[in-house]
């Protein structure tokens, strides 16, 4: 499909998808920030507690971020969000097991973020297709099943997942902005999202 499009059309399509992706990422970041507040409050955690890196979640920070190609960026993002999708699904399941329907608001917020993460992952797949490279196969397993954790450890792990997701939302905005810039693998995004 991409081959059938004219280059200019591909560029326009990429820009459009990048713009929409940026909105999704920014909305996701906003929702994750709200979710973090609810999560810390409902789980009885200290917002300033430090959490170790969550296993199976790629780190948002990258040493040579500016040197990455567009495709690489998309692949990293896709891998991260697929992992988040699995982790959030686990968190939602754990939350239901722990609280049942007693805390429906937290469950709804988690589900909404999960839905957005899923939607963003599909959005990234669409962008990858546009880059003439199909998305990698989704094994569906995601990160390895975590060892049996205590309730507190589950809470801390959940906090770590959400914090990392918030970081990835910011990085995704920057990646997509980079992708939208002109040039192979990187176009000039409209100045609209420059602020972020």
């Amino acid at each position: 499909m991409a081959a059938a499009d004219t280059p200019s059309a591909t560029t326009l399509r990429r820009r459009d998808l990048c713009s929409r992706g940026i909105r999704l990422a920014r909305k996701m970041r906003s929702d994750v920030a709200d979710l973090l507040d609810i999560y810390v409050e409902r789980q009885g955690l200290d917002a300033s507690v430090s959490v170790a890196a969550v296993e199976g979640v790629p780190a948002a920070a990258a040493e040579h971020w500016s040197e990455q190609t567009g495709t690489q960026r998309l692949l990293d993002n896709l891998a991260a969000y697929r992992a988040f999708r699995t982790l959030l699904a686990q968190m939602l399941e754990e939350q239901r097991e722990q609280l049942g329907d007693a805390d429906a608001a937290l469950g709804r917020a988690l589900a909404a973020v999960l839905l957005q993460v899923s939607a963003f992952a599909y959005h990234l797949e669409e962008l990858l297709e546009l880059e003439s490279r199909g998305p990698p196969g989704d094994e569906g397993d995601g990160p390895p099943a975590p060892p049996r954790l205590s309730l507190f450890e589950q809470k801390l792990r959940g906090l770590g997942v959400l914090r990392e997701l918030a970081q990835w939302a910011v990085r995704s905005v920057r990646d997509l902005r980079q992708l939208a810039r002109p040039g192979p693998g990187a176009g000039s995004a409209p100045g609209l999202a420059e602020g972020q």
Partner: protein, 883 residues
């Protein structure tokens, strides 16, 4: 068929359980069923255990609403269960009732509501609207009304290349019984990959729509922006700067379009400017240019995402005014001159208004009024006012007046008027004025004798309005016709309309008329009154109805009059006539009259007035009075004649009766009074009673009414006895003699018998110990009637009886003698009849009871006379004389 067997099985199980445990009378299965329209309904009724064995399922009857279902549709399942089948059930909703009929009585056991409907259609026309961070609401159409409880489920799915993904059935769907459903925050994720599907489901089936992809950017609607300020920029005219804030809850990183609508409040015209902004700009400003000076504008703003199809609502309005400039037009000035002061002084009422110039003159701070005598500009006076009116006290000179309006930016050109001097006589230029109306307009048209006059002022005000400031006017140029919208005039109100020609700065004499823009019948009618009432005519008069109730020009009055029980007649007179003579009326007849005042719109009658025509008019009275007067005159003459010829007539009709005292037929004993034992007896009796006790008789008399009646009868008898001869008198004497020897009662009665034969014209004697005065009156004639032998004998006897007391009574007797002598001068005692009535005294019976033994021999005759008091009138004397 299979389902029926299942129902049978359930019922059998259920009925057995019910028989054992239930305390209900009966049960019905299935309960509240919903079936497809036109299908067959089958229901079972289970009879309670306590009904058996007296009653069983064969006693069950079924009704659909209130109609009995035919027996052929019943089926007895077992002893306690009956079923019914209803084919082609087409009711939207109906009640099927199970009764038991036993011994002719129907008893309701149980009933259930049955609904019929249709399976759901496939939902369509799915549309959603996305209130960012608030809710996501989708609507759809459900197609044909199912008439059954239908549940709609809205699914939010992710659609990608691989197909549809149902992320979480619970959190990505919402259920509703209507054609709308919403996801609430925070379950309002943002994605471009969502599609929306609606599934409709009821007992008859389900239907799902396609999953319709809807991009969230396309359906976003956010809160209206907030206007922060509207400012004018100092030194820059015709410009306003609007600043507003973009709402925070908005899809990030998108382009927006905002519309700024600004409305000129002076002209009420609106314009819209559109400006492109981004969602990242929290505050946006826009300069509105090309505005009017000194004009207030109302501004509001709305925004939309460039990809959305839903505008936000308009923001709250804010208003601001542009920079002012000096009014460019002079005011519209007019005057009303009041010549009410002596010595030429007058009040000039100035009124003005702002011309509707464009752009408007801004906020006027005040008005400056300058005026000076035409011949002496040095005497200029200045007044400042914020009102649009002023009263100037001017003298008789001509004045020049100018008025200017000013605002913060300056003053308007001056409007100038000349007030003529009091001795000026303005020329009459207008020949005639007429007014008429069309559907929409009031038109005033006039003819001028001076074609060079091209400017006029039309002035109008309500006829009853006395305040000169409440007047309207308009300058007319190059036309002799003025048109105005009817709406500026009140209907049914009379307006004074004047046309003033203007030449130079002078005002010529006006021409005034009155006009109504619309008329209706008067609010009330005139009150009729009558005047100059006659036998066959009457003058009806009335007063004009007040101006505020005329509602139009009165064109005529109609007088309606109707005799009692007769036909109503009417006569019409002009509006300037306020009285009318009605002729040819019936004499002595009651009429009802009422007046109707009419204008062009109709008439209204006043209160009716009733009057009655006279029986006679003046001529009749004259004709009657003349004969009566003549008759009276004749009678008067006759009477005078009678007076003058009285003696003649008297001699003819009432000849003189000779005085018995002068009679020579009998010689009256001159010493009778001295020796009159009768009087002595009286005095003797008076010793015990007292002379002053005369009044006692008056008290006694009413108690002896029957005696009074007897006396009255006596009078009659007297008249009958008038013709008695001297023998009658002798009979009296005989009676008295008898009475002297009789008992009291007999005496009493006999006295009356005697009285019967005594009449005013007959000599009779009344004596009594309590009646001296009467006795005096009676004694005199008695003394004179000496010729009557009977009485004389009686008196002799009395004298003899009373000899023993003679000495002791001498003094009193002498007194009585004197008294008797005096009464001799009144021999006629016609009025003694009255006195005679008093003879019946209550003392008499007492006297009879108490003193019968003491006085029978002392004063028998007086005892007798005390009752039948004997006295003699001249009548009888006359008669006696005659005899």
């Amino acid at each position: 068929m299979f389902s029926c067997w299942i129902w049978m099985f359930i019922l059998l199980c259920g009925s057995s359980v019910a028989d054992e445990n239930s305390i209900r009378d009966a049960d019905i299965f299935p309960s509240s069923p919903e079936i497809e329209r036109g299908s067959t309904l089958k229901l079972f009724c289970v009879l309670g255990k306590h009904y058996t064995p007296q009653r069983n399922a064969s006693h069950i009857i079924w009704k659909l609403n209130r109609e009995l279902i035919a027996q052929e549709n019943y089926n007895i399942v077992n002893e306690t269960v009956s079923s019914v089948i209803i084919h082609n059930f087409t009711y939207n909703k109906a009640h099927v009732k199970c009764f038991i009929k036993y011994l002719g009585k129907e008893q309701l056991l149980v009933h259930t509501e049955v609904k019929s409907g249709f399976p759901p259609d496939t939902p369509g026309n799915i549309s959603c609207i996305y209130y960012f961070n608030v809710e996501l609401t989708c609507n759809w159409t459900s197609g044909r009304e199912t008439n059954l409880t239908t549940i709609y489920t809205l699914y939010r799915k992710i659609k990608n290349k691989q197909g549809l993904i149902m992320p979480d059935s619970e959190l990505s769907s919402c259920r509703s019984k209507t054609e709308s459903c919403s996801f609430r925050h925070p379950n309002t994720p943002f994605s471009n990959s969502f599609c929306f599907q609606v599934k409709a489901q009821n007992v008859l089936g389900e239907a799902s729509s396609e999953c319709v992809p809807i991009a969230m950017e396309n359906i976003e609607k956010f809160e209206p922006p907030e206007i922060l300020s509207i400012k004018k920029v100092a030194g820059i005219k015709q410009l306003l700067t609007v600043t507003w804030k973009i709402p925070e809850d908005i899809i990030p990183a998108q382009y927006l379009n905002c519309q700024v609508r600004y409305r000129n409040l002076y002209s009420n015209s609106s314009e819209i400017d559109t400006v492109a902004v981004t969602s990242e700009e929290k505050v946006v400003s826009l300069n509105l240019t090309g505005l009017w000076d000194s004009t207030e504008y109302s501004v509001d703003v709305r925004c939309i995402g460039v990809e959305s199809k839903f505008w936000s609502e308009w923001s709250r309005e804010k208003t601001a005014s542009t920079e002012e400039k000096a009014p460019s037009e002079k005011v519209d000035l007019w005057r009303i001159i009041e010549f009410s002061h002596p010595a030429g002084n007058r009040s000039v009422h100035l009124i003005w208004k702002l011309l509707s110039n464009i752009p408007p003159p801004g906020r006027i701070l005040g008005y400056k009024i300058q005026y000076f005598p035409e011949n002496n500009a040095a005497l200029q006076m200045t007044n400042i006012t914020a009102n649009k009116k002023i009263v100037l006290p001017l003298n008789e000179e001509a004045y020049i007046i100018s008025v200017t309006a000013y605002n913060s930016a300056g003053s308007s050109p001056a409007a100038i008027l000349r007030i003529p001097s009091t001795d000026e006589k303005p020329p009459e230029i207008i020949e005639t004025v007429r007014t008429y109306t069309t559907n929409e307009e009031m038109i005033v048209e006039w003819i001028s004798s001076e074609p060079e006059v091209t400017e006029y002022v039309v002035e109008w005000y309500e006829e009853l309005e006395t305040d000169p400031f409440i007047r309207s006017w308009q300058y007319i140029s190059n036309s002799t016709k003025w048109k105005a919208n009817k709406k500026i005039f009140k209907p049914f109100v009379c307006y004074n309309m004047s046309v003033y020609p203007l030449y130079g700065n002078k005002v010529a004499a006006p021409y005034s008329i009155q006009a109504y823009v619309q008329e209706k019948e008067p609010s009330e009618g005139p009150v009729a009154d009558t005047d100059v009432l006659g036998k066959n005519e009457v003058v009806i008069k009335w007063e004009e109805i007040s101006k505020d109730k005329r509602n139009g020009f009165i064109t005529n009055y109609t007088i309606f009059y109707k005799p009692e029980g007769g036909k109503e007649l009417n006569e019409m007179v002009n509006s300037d006539v306020l009285h009318h003579r009605l002729t040819s009326l019936q004499a002595n007849t009651q009429y009802t009259v009422h007046i109707m005042a009419s204008n062009r719109a109709g008439g209204t009658s006043g209160e009716p007035k009733t009057f009655k025509t006279l029986k006679f008019n003046k001529e009749d009275i004259i004709f009657i009075a003349i004969p009566v007067g003549l008759s009276m005159f004749f009678l008067l003459g006759l009477w005078i004649t009678c007076i003058l010829k009285k003696h003649t007539f008297k001699k003819v009709c009432w000849p003189d009766i000779p005085n018995p005292a002068g009679s020579v037929a009998v010689e009256w004993p001159l010493d009778a009074p001295m020796n009159n034992s009768f009087l002595k007896g009286v005095t003797y009796e008076d010793k015990t009673v007292g002379l002053e006790d005369v009044s006692v008789l008056e008290d006694c008399f009413p108690e002896e009414d029957h005696e009074g009646l007897l006396l009255m009868n006596c009078e009659k008898h007297v008249s009958e006895c008038t013709d008695s001869n001297v023998n009658g008198v002798q009979n009296i004497s005989e009676h008295k003699i008898t009475l002297l020897n009789g008992n009291k009662k007999i005496l009493y009665n006999e006295e009356h018998e005697v009285a019967k034969c005594l009449s005013p014209s007959m000599p009779y004697v009344i004596t009594g110990e309590d009646f001296r005065s009467q006795m005096h009156s009676a004694l005199i004639p008695a003394k004179k009637i000496q010729p009557i032998e009977m009485l004389e004998d009686d008196l002799r006897e009395t004298q003899q009886i009373s000899v023993k007391n003679e000495k002791s009574d001498n003094e009193e007797a002498l007194k009585l003698e004197d008294f008797s002598e005096k009464t001799l001068f009144n021999p006629y005692l016609r009025n003694s009849v009255k006195t005679r009535e008093f003879l019946i005294s209550e003392n008499l019976p007492e006297h009879s009871k108490n003193e019968p033994k003491k006085q029978p021999t002392v004063l028998p005759a007086f005892q007798q006379n005390a009752v039948g008091q004997s006295y003699i009138t001249l009548d009888i004397v006359g008669l006696a004389t005659a005899h």
